[in-house]
């Protein structure tokens, strides 16, 4: 990763026209210049030049951002704002280190043992701090899914009062028997033989799917298998590292990326698929950046990244649904037509990491439009940020959930019953917002509707 100082010329491309103000979700809520890119770049520049110290205010302003990338996308001068922010965040970590909690979490993200046991322990004592949410509070359809989430009883550090927290799954995705079966390492030599007639997909779970939403993982596997492709779920895979990366902990992000690349290299695959927008963005675009200065690792990262697909992209573009393959029954009968199936009205929220960082916008919509029983409607502000990202929901929950208000409004205006999206992070945030703003809508992953 490049040093913060080397971004001076990038910052100087900003001509202060203020166009970034038009799209920035934090500026909309805070109504302060320090929230938008024009302000942040000014502060970062002053800090680099030694005009400003690493004050509390500076630190706060650098962190007060959901890293949605909206400013980068609208900037007429083409300033790569998010790259500058990331470098500034990495610099914060370099100088000040991580907070105790961040350290605890990030340093253990690659442990396939410790993280799960901590989470399990947490799950056991959750009653002390949280109460179970009713399905209405949770904005989730019991028909689609049973876990409703938890509402915090008190204002907790990193959590905040009245916040709907997702429940930790009873059994983690990667521990499920049927998933572990898919982790069997193929004999390496066989990867080029004729038995590889069908397309091979290696599935990357990610923490959201693994710990919180295993059903999204299993639904994804079903969708892939339905096309006739062969799926593996490589054993030993760890967190994608993006939470650490966005906090500025590049070292952890590198470590995790390396580990994941190594694990996947053990398997033969045509595609690496994941159902988390943040993971697919990380695997596809960030890994390469992490190894900018390491030729050998960069090549390996590039080879890996070239195969990465978001699940919506994979299903809509790369894999053709094979509805008639025997034994893998298609979900809906060909007869009867659309009218015969009960229609639920569904709208779609664009995760920033999918839409802005990967340009994937049409694919999930196409899947929903084609899905049996789904009446798809676009919603207003579909691509405005949910507010969770960039660590904002941890560092400034009040701001983060205030940003989501716009989504709740958009959901109401859409008239849809269900909001579909393609990122467990967004799902967590949107459910919380629906509960908080009293909107009776279910929030699900696209794959759950296919």
């Amino acid at each position: 990763m490049k040093d913060l100082k080397s971004f001076l010329s990038e910052i100087d491309k900003c001509v202060k026209c203020g166009t970034c103000r038009s799209i920035c979700p934090t500026t909309r809520v805070l109504g302060r210049e320090s929230a938008c890119a024009r302000g942040k770049l000014t502060l970062i520049r002053a800090y680099i030049e030694g005009e400003l110290e690493m004050s509390d205010d500076y630190t706060r302003h650098v962190k007060e951002c959901a890293m949605c990338g909206g400013c980068r996308d609208v900037c007429p001068a083409g300033v790569k704002t998010t790259d500058v922010y990331l470098a500034a965040r990495a610099d914060l970590v370099k100088v000040n280190g991580l907070s105790f909690l961040e350290r605890m979490v990030f340093k253990n993200l690659d442990s396939t043992r410790l993280m799960p046991s901590v989470l399990r322990l947490g799950a056991r004592f959750k009653g002390l701090l949280f109460k179970a949410a009713s399905p209405a509070e949770a904005g989730t359809a019991s028909a689609i899914e049973t876990d409703t989430g938890l509402i915090s009883r008190f204002s907790l550090p990193l959590v905040g009062g009245g916040r709907l927290m997702p429940t930790v799954a009873k059994r983690f995705f990667l521990d499920l028997k049927e998933v572990r079966r898919l982790g069997k390492r193929p004999k390496k030599a066989s990867s080029n033989t004729s038995e590889t007639a069908s397309v091979k997909v290696a599935f990357f779970a990610g923490c959201g799917v693994n710990y919180l939403m295993p059903h999204v993982g299993t639904a994804s596997l079903k969708c892939i298998e339905r096309t006739g492709a062969a799926v593996s779920v490589p054993k030993g895979q760890v967190c994608c590292g993006m939470p650490a990366f966005y906090t500025g902990d590049v070292e952890t992000a590198e470590r995790l990326a390396r580990k994941n690349i190594e694990v996947f290299e053990e398997y033969g695959y045509d595609f690496v698929a994941t159902s988390c927008a943040t993971c697919s963005h990380g695997l596809k675009t960030v890994f390469k950046k992490l190894f900018e200065n390491d030729d050998e690792m960069r090549d390996r990262a590039e080879a890996f990244s070239a195969k990465v697909r978001d699940i919506t992209e994979l299903l809509a573009r790369d894999l053709k649904p094979v509805k008639t393959v025997e034994g893998i029954s298609p979900t809906a009968p060909e007869s009867g037509g659309k009218e015969a199936v009960k229609q639920i009205s569904v709208t779609y929220h664009d995760p920033c990491h999918l839409n802005r960082n990967q340009g994937i916008k049409a694919e999930p919509r196409a899947l929903l439009e084609d899905a049996e029983g789904v009446d798809f409607k676009n919603m207003k502000f579909a691509c405005s940020c949910c507010g969770l990202g960039g660590g904002l929901s941890m560092t400034n929950y009040d701001l983060s959930i205030a940003i989501t208000k716009r989504k709740a409004d958009g959901a109401i205006a859409s008239g849809a019953d269900v909001i579909a999206t393609a990122c467990p992070g967004c799902i967590v945030q949107l459910r919380d917002a629906m509960q908080r703003y009293g909107v009776d809508k279910k929030v699900v992953h696209v794959v759950e509707l296919l």
Partner: protein, 465 residues
Amino acid sequence: MLSDKNYISLEEIVGKEQVSASKEDLLCYSYDATNTTYLPDAVIFPANALEVSRIVELANLRGFSIIARGAGSGFTGGSLAVSGGVVLSTERMKRVIKIDEENLTATVEPGVITWEFQQDVEALGLFYPPDPTSKKISTIGGNIAECAGGPRAVKYGVTRDYVLGLEVVLPTGEIIKTGTSTMKGVVGYDLTRLMVGSEGTLGIVTGATLRLIPKPESVVTMLAFFPGISEAAAAVADIVAARIMPSTLELIDSFSIKCIEEYDPVRFAGVGALLIVEVDGRPESVKIEAELVNGVCKAAGATNIETATDKRAVKNLWKARRSISPALFKLKPNKINEDVVVPRSKIIELMTGLESIGKERGLIIACFGHAGDGNIHMNIMYDRNDDAEAARASEAVKEAFELTLSLGGTISGEHGVGTTKAEYLEMEIGSVEVALMRRLKECFDPKGIMNPGKIFSNKSAVRVT
């Protein structure tokens, strides 16, 4: 410098959270779209007219200056604290108070963002036409203070044509109401018109009653390609002379096209000049007008005329158009950006004149803008670090202004004078008129605390008695 005593008094008015003198906040309110920097002594975020009134009253009493600021998208340095003082941001005053569907008026606070307000009224089938290209960020208060115009001004006029009445805090602290909420009104002097375009030097707008009209039923957007700027300029003059009333008539020259080529690499590459033409109204009449425009453009030498068929294409086109101004920096690191206006029959002379000024001095002068009302944004591109080039650029500005005035034009159509044009004011305005304007300023603002250093060239405007 602002004394501790004054700072504490300000805190007492708005609360500790809503005033700041931290280095971070000062830096963030030190610039506008001119990309120049002046650190204020403090920034304050009042919630309503009463607070504004108390702040200004204090400033007048204690003798520190107040600079109103909307979104800081101004192009003439209007919101900059050029001699220190307190920047008063209207970012918290952003309520649309009322949209009166029976009388077609709306009442808003000054910090409302132009485009968001337009979305609100259009949802009700109404229309607020003034549309500066910066509409997605600029505020109604800033628009009023600069009398902003935009692409639609050619048919619908500028901000001043839609302001019925104002609530203003005078530099001495009183809250006054100007104008009416009726369509007409002639009682007393027209203070509303005086305030519109006064660049925050005569008072702070804390509320506005705006005129709305019914939203046009349909719009057709056309894009005409020309081999060169003179053909395009001729087409503009011909459209006006043919008594066609387009709702938009935007000109883009080849330098500007180059900067936005990425929006449509296939069609924009190597084009000499573009016109964006829109006609709006009832579908039947729109169709006829579109055909007329087509004919005139062809006759003037257009090589191709496209009619946009879907909304996405139109949106993309306007996005490209809005990006020109900031994207010009791809040509040179700095620009002198002026928005001269000439009678529409003289646009060709202006364009060719500017072209030769550029050639003679070895400078790129990129031109685009609301040609339909004779308003051209000319951008003299240069490098601040190249002294010789910078000197040539400033000579070119003066020459361009002389050309504009000789054609019967004005040196600013909508961006205002601010600091950047203050030294040229007297090129256009006679000494008697300037003296009258200064007396007006003194009469409103005897202590010179309200946005000093703007419009009138520096020292003399700030006369502290």
